[in-house]
Amino acid sequence: MTYLKIDHVDKVFTRGSASTEVLKDINLTVEKGEYISIIGHSGCGKSTLLNIVAGLTNATQGGVLLEDREVNSPGPDRAVVFQNHSLLPWLTVYDNVRLGVDKVFAKTKTRAERDEWVLYNLNLVQMTHAKDKRPSEVSGGMKQRVGIARALAMEPKVLLLDEPFGALDALTRAHLQDSVMALHQKLGNTIMMITHDVDEAVLLSDRIVMMTNGPSAKIGEVLDVPLPRPRKRLELASNTTYLKCRQRVLEFLYERQRFVEAA
């Protein structure tokens, strides 16, 4: 049984009489516990694809099936970690996570259990120390950690990461990538991540989905990353499988789908 299935998805944006086909016939299946990266040049519609899975945008044709049921509206079973963290600035770190927890577990957990669950998830991302701070009082990397905690706390069936480390500096990014890897190892989440960073994709993913340039972007190639877990950043630097995978993605992006400036 496939866990998540993206079935013949087309997306056409219409504005007045002009219409642009962004995605064309996207088919993808994701197994439970798998870490999938979607990589492509900017403007290829990878964020649109993620939004369709999240239910924030509707597909023009085709649909998304999660455990054989169609999903076409947003919900906590497909929690999103947004690129710009999207924490509510008037709530504390704790309350930002609590907002989702209160809603998802309103009937299944008592007040005390929900409190405990929020703290447990903040602890997973090592943010318990800042639980009473507002988002404006913590660093960019910390905000993103809270964003991850908020998503994890909803116990999603699929965790959607929309370029989660794009706005961070290189050191913070590496640190957070390691954290996400450790969380994936520990919790076994199914994760779908948008990225434009080749190293990040190879390091984190079980499979890398490479998209062709838009308009009418398709899945160009799907690459298996047969590296054993847990993976270590430093050891991989000289690993031949890692380098081969990296080479394949680079070739796809910079030879076969060279980014056309005008597009």
Partner: protein, 298 residues
Amino acid sequence: MNMPVLKTNLAASAPMESATVVSLPMAKPSYMTTRILPGLRAVSARVVPPVIMLALIFGVWQLLCMKPGATLPSPSRIWADAKDLIIDPFFITGPQDIGLGWRVLTSLQRVAIGFGLASVVGILVGAVIGQSIWAMRGLDPIFQVLRTVPPLAWLPISLAAFRDSNPSAIFVIFITSIWPIIINTAVGIRNIPQDYRNVAAVVQLNQVEFFWKIMIPSAAPYIFTGLRIGIGLSWLAIVAAEMLTGGVGIGFFIWDAWNSSRLSDIFVALAYIGTVGFMLDRIVAFVANLATRGAQAS
């Protein structure tokens, strides 16, 4: 572990004692010079200029209105005529002979009811308009026309509808202050970032939760701008409305003083109105500051 350290310190400082005594008198005035004097200076820098300007204005006014044929009373004349009104705002000597404090409170009560209703209705209507593009297209042009109608133009309609002066005055406050609240709330709600809407959608907040948890906090800075304009307008409107409807109130007091040629009383009333209006504005601004502390996005 601490003990030997302490001992050596004591031993080292004992012969030096005469030297440290010299530095002690230095420490005392340093508190005075670092804390109290700059504090006083900061306060006086804000208080002294307006006091000087006020003295100048009163001086010029006194000079202009001192000569026998002057049409308006001079400050000294006002003090002589209306000393009781200035000194004691809360006296009661008869049904129509009460202190200005009482009259202001009566007016404030009307403003509180009218403005309170306008706030609740204005925020709700503004939220609907901000959320719905069709409500916006349908209602915005109408509101833009209605908001330019002067407060007093509503009074005859209001009197005809309510057939009583007190609800009419309250209605005038309501209808005057509601437009900026509606319009600012609608703008604030339209400007809620898509990110927050996405968060609400993923968490699956319902309409009511979305209103309280996302809309109101996110639009709070805009809403408070509307409330601040609204409270200013209601204070303008109440004085005018009371002049025409009569009864107790600071507006009617002015009208009554004019009819019985007590010009000095009018000046005192003006000072009261200005001060209260200023305080109302400050109060709303203060509440806005408290409420929107965290709302600045980062």
